[in-house]
């Protein structure tokens, strides 16, 4: 609804173009950086060949690449680095959009995808899949378990917080914190049991810390449809989210069905978060910090905030992953550690800045 005036529109266009350019640059760099030396020439050759195939006979497959006797460079690009970059982008977008929606829904700048215990539920599901050895034999087992953990957690939290058809937001948050703590405890419990088998324990620990190592097209195929569907849903509710920021009574007065909107959006964010945790483990602080950065740039309107949060979220995860692989490659540091290590100080910076502004006002 909000008719952005000319200045705001120009500023928004500038920010979008800038973010998109940065994202393209980071993604290209991420495709070129790694243990195997691959140059921009190889990348262009691959892009050109894939584009030609796409035009000629629809979908290109890996079989074609091998049949055509292509170089190992292209195999690495297509089979290793591209799925890694795409998974990272999708995870960053999903987490940032979830965070932005939840912050609006709860009118609380501290809300993040972990706030309703959804991400710890997804973690618990994944830990179970690893512990019982399912993930070793089936590539889809871990993501599906994580996904189920996320959805079950949301349903549990919502059911606990609902009384006589009403779901007060404060009760929802408290129930989310309690169920989230329980999920985390169960994950630790299983990890403690797994310590006798060091390989399993190590897998669990590394998975919980989050990362994009060894992500394949399967992971891309799992998160892409969820990301698209989730984005479509939340983008349909941008006006409702704006109205809810003003207050629940005000939103109801202008015709927002508060309870229904809340349920649809919570389900949407649970799907997005669940899919992100399912393919990349615990990637912290992206969902909390990215929406804040974007809000500083383009203001509180969700119509601009949500798509841009997706862009910047994708950028943040790709850039963090790139940094780790480029600068600290020999240490094998998990991605989740990097995002949290960069996100937390940045968040504190925002906090201090805001305090200064209040002190001046």
């Amino acid at each position: 609804m909000h008719r952005l005036h000319e200045l705001a529109r120009r500023r928004l266009a500038l920010v979008v173009v800038f973010a998109a350019a940065l994202l393209m640059a980071a993604a290209s760099a991420a495709l070129l950086v790694g243990p195997a030396a691959i140059g921009p020439g190889d990348l262009w050759a691959m892009v050109a060949r894939r584009a030609a195939w796409l035009l000629e006979r629809g979908t290109p497959g890996s079989a074609h690449a091998e049949a055509a006797g292509l170089g190992w460079q292209e195999t690495i690009l297509w089979q290793v680095r591209l799925p890694r970059v795409l998974t990272g982008a999708a995870v960053g977008a999903a987490l940032a959009v979830s965070g932005a929606v939840l912050q609006g829904l709860f009118r609380n700048p501290l809300a993040s995808p972990s706030v309703l215990g959804v991400s710890s539920g997804a973690s618990l599901g994944a830990v179970l899949a690893i512990f019982f050895g399912l993930s070793a034999s089936l590539v889809w087992a871990l993501p599906l378990f994580a996904f189920a953990g996320a959805i079950l957690t949301l349903l549990l939290v919502y059911t606990i917080a609902t009384h006589q058809g009403r779901t007060p937001i404060a009760t929802l948050l408290l129930a989310g914190i309690a169920v989230g703590a329980f999920n985390a405890a169960m994950s630790s419990f299983i990890l403690a049991l797994a310590l006798e088998r060091w390989e399993v324990a190590k897998t669990i620990i590394f998975w919980t810390m989050g990362g994009l190592d060894g992500r394949t097209w399967d992971h891309v195929l799992l998160i892409a449809p969820v990301l698209l569907a989730g984005m479509a849903v939340v983008l349909g509710y941008t006006r409702e989210l704006d109205a809810l920021l003003v207050g629940e009574v005000s939103a109801a007065a202008v015709g927002v069905d508060v309870a229904r909107t809340r349920m649809i959006l919570l389900l949407g964010t649970a799907l997005l978060t669940g899919a992100a945790v399912a393919v990349a483990g615990g990637i912290g602080f992206v969902g909390l910090v990215v929406p804040h950065i974007v809000r500083l740039l383009v203001g509180p309107h969700h119509r601009a905030l949500l798509p841009l949060a997706a862009l910047v979220g994708a950028l943040a995860v790709i850039a963090a992953d790139l940094l780790l692989r480029g600068l600290l490659a020999e240490h094998n540091i998990p991605l989740g550690v990097a995002t949290a290590a960069m996100g937390a100080p940045f968040f504190l910076f925002l906090l201090v800045r805001q305090q200064e502004r209040f002190a001046r006002a």
Binding site: H2, V246, G255
Partner: protein, 275 residues
Amino acid sequence: MRNTLSTDVRGRRMITLRRLRAGYGAATILEDLSLGLGAGAMVGLIGPNGAGKTTLLKLLMGLMRPVSGEIRVLGRPVGTYRRSALARRMTLVPQDTQIGFAFDVEDIVAMGRHPHVGRFRAPGAHDLDMVQRAMAETGVRHLARRPIDTLSGGERQRAIIARAIAQETRILLLDEVTANLDLCHQLEVLRLAHKQARDGRLVLAAMHDLGMASRFCDRLLLLADGGLRADGPPEAVLTERNLRHYFHVEARIAPMRHGPGLHIVPLASCSAAAS
């Protein structure tokens, strides 16, 4: 969807309450409340704290369900409306209008068009026009680009009323909208509300200032002890006896010499007089 408000709708039944009973948990706030409200009038809802003024407005907006009884809005039970359909007919200006996020005034006013614009649709020419007209009518057009959290209380309240006007509803509910305003802004806001009634809307305003209520309202509803204790023109409702009984105040009341309204001079609270 354009509401053509003219004199021929004046007096048409907008809201009907029948044997309404409502409360929170075990506590009953309203009991056996029946009344009808017609178009083209400014109706004041008065009563001591806790008498159920805000509860009644919440019930009308469908934010709360009655224990028993019936609420009809434009002939239909309020519970059968979809949220957006109800918002095209009736809106509420809430008591607390603190907004912590930096929306511009125009953004806030444009939210009033929400029930008229479909999902994934952009607002049309009529929507944008209504937003401009509502801002002009309430005198906030020069503030259109100002973030709402930088406005004074009076300006903010006018912006929220502009949102309600932009919503083009036939019924306007006001919940103590003058509570935090200085005298000048109280007058301005109430004059605006009064004009909405003259234009053919039903304005139902919960108010604390009895002098202002007597001056701006065509009809007053006195809520106290869970029910409707008096209903009629201001001079019939605001009597020294009613103030003593229901507001527990000893007061002198005299008609204004010029224009409408009553002089109400509170002398002593009854509990103080008794001790």
